[in-house]
Symmetry: C2
Subunit: 337 residues, 2 copies
């Protein structure tokens, strides 16, 4: 590939001049500028980013460390972030840690080696092993979706506790007296907070509830909701509503209900959490506690960019509200028992 040197030679100028033309920095006479531009054109010149990064000590690369790319929530999140950063002249390096702390560390090392200018991370669990690499490399990070208490970083997230409370209250208000809750027992701070909020609401209103929390790393699996619902529905008396702390799990729940011959919502109300686009197109359409997913992404990117380059900037802690979206998968319980 052509280098700046080739251009200089062809245009009959020095390296410095070419560089000045490329970066529109310093003064260069119109005549020479034209020559250089022409030379770039004929040689199909594209600047060498690694060389530039080396010299400038910035890469314009942002690391995005998330658990999974292939599920709606993280997919839209990644997409939103990507769009925002692209517009600002940054590219993203995507890493899906698969809810595995080891991979998380491995990826973090990769990102620091790559000298990314910053990183947006949705931590897998409570493990903090990865964080020290960023700290040491002095790479600013923002935490998204999941809160981690002991780490000096900006945060952008939703009030999960409140969301859980909100979702449960919807069921309470509909008159449900026996509710199933689907969570996960390991990691995922966010989901546990939702659970706390939901339990609080149910407790306050004397509604019986049963929590099912399989010991897995992620609730973003259809089948998990399916299996969990099967368990909950086999109880006597069975719950008249299930609150799955993830939309994806809620979809599994609806499927399980139908497979057991229970109609949604008449025999079983189902409510999810996340607000993925798909929810509106399910049959019945899914009632859910929606997060402003795209906004979450934009905000995170924005907050991060405010910190890259500047050392002194304060850590920001942004909390966005959840919104209850009532659709067709919840209704009043049948009176009969």
């Amino acid at each position: 590939m052509a280098t700046i040197k080739d251009i200089a030679q062809l245009a009959g100028v020095s390296l410095a001049t070419v560089s000045r033309v490329i970066n529109q920095t310093g003064n260069v006479s119109p005549a020479l500028r034209e020559q250089v531009l022409a030379a770039m054109e004929t040689l199909n010149y594209q600047p060498n980013a690694p060389a530039r990064s080396l010299r400038r000590r910035e890469t314009r690369l942002i690391g995005l460390l998330i658990p999974q790319l292939n599920h709606p929530f993280f997919g839209t999140l990644a997409y939103a972030i990507e769009r925002f950063l692209f517009a600002e002249g940054f590219r993203i390096l995507v890493c899906s840690a698969e809810e595995d702390a080891d991979r998380e560390v491995e990826y973090t090392q990769l990102l620091t080696r790559q000298r990314v200018d910053g990183a947006i991370v949705a931590p897998t669990g409570l493990a903090l092993d990865w964080a020290k690499y960023f700290v040491h490399a002095n790479i600013p990070i923002v935490l998204i979706d999941r809160n981690l208490p002991d780490i000096a970083a900006s945060r952008v997230m939703v009030d999960n506790w409140q969301g859980g409370y909100q979702g449960a209250m919807h069921l309470v208000e509909l008159g449900h007296r026996r509710v199933g809750l689907i969570s996960v027992s390991r990691h995922s701070q966010a989901i546990r907070e939702r659970l706390q909020g939901a339990m609080q609401a149910l407790h306050e209103h004397n509604v019986a509830y049963e929590v099912y929390e399989p010991s897995v790393e992620t609730l973003q699996q259809y089948d998990l909701g399916f299996q969990a619902a099967l368990k909950l529905l086999s109880q006597q008396p069975r719950p008249s509503a299930i609150f799955a702390l993830t939309d994806v799990a809620a979809i599994g729940v609806m499927h399980a209900a139908v497979s057991q011959g229970l109609a949604v919502p008449s025999q079983l109300s189902v409510i999810g959490f996340d607000g993925i686009e798909l929810g509106a197109y399910l049959i019945p359409a899914l009632t859910t506690v929606a997060q402003p997913i795209e906004q979450l992404g934009y905000k995170a990117a924005e907050v991060l960019l405010r910190r890259v380059g500047r050392v002194q900037a304060e850590h920001e802690h942004i909390v966005l509200p959840t919104q209850l979206i009532v659709r067709a998968s919840t209704s009043m319980p049948l009176l009969a028992e």
Copy 2:
């Protein structure tokens, strides 16, 4: 951040020796190796990837250029590719071109500047503007999901025509005599091939069909299927089955049917295309022509890696089979008219 120089100083050896230890190349005595390793440890050394890329003339970065990250098909595809490449020591730079030819070009430039070792691209349309950048930079690419005739590259895809034929035949065999087809009129070679295959099957068996193809760039939108179905269902006589050339569109179709008071599948059969995981969890579960999405991703990555570094390697053209998955959204049509 610590550099190789700092390590050398601390360990009391030369730069070359440190480099040899890091890369496990050449011979270095056990004693010195230990010292170097210790120094790296205490300084928290992480090699500078841009510098290394500059010198080695390889980045171990692969560009992934796809239309959208936020929809199930491309999400799983990206995820599969990412996993495969990670295991081989490559990272991916994700670019979602949003079905926009300009952005596609812009992204391609970015990738060549970044000196990626290769790229996997699902082209937006028939425009080839982007291709020349890769060619000029001598960056190997593999085309995925979408075929582009006039371009020298490896390809990994599914036999879309055959898949379309297969899906339509399913409806024919069930006894449908009037079928609606949902496609898109612009771009997307793959989807047009599916349409051709489906029309051929219907034609061969004298089944009446109506094609609805909105003039948009992507069929990966729930609402598109919804709107299209509304149009098709307003016809008299109305079709007893709809074949949506994308699962996402099919979901929109099912929703539209219900909103019109039509039961799926008894009053309207719906079949999709893609085989996204979600399909199995819909109510009713979606019949679809499935692509081996993950395999598509693995294969593409594998084929690409065979070409990076080596100049002479042949272009490969891999076609994977589609598979009809019959679930609950299709059935025989009602006899009454």
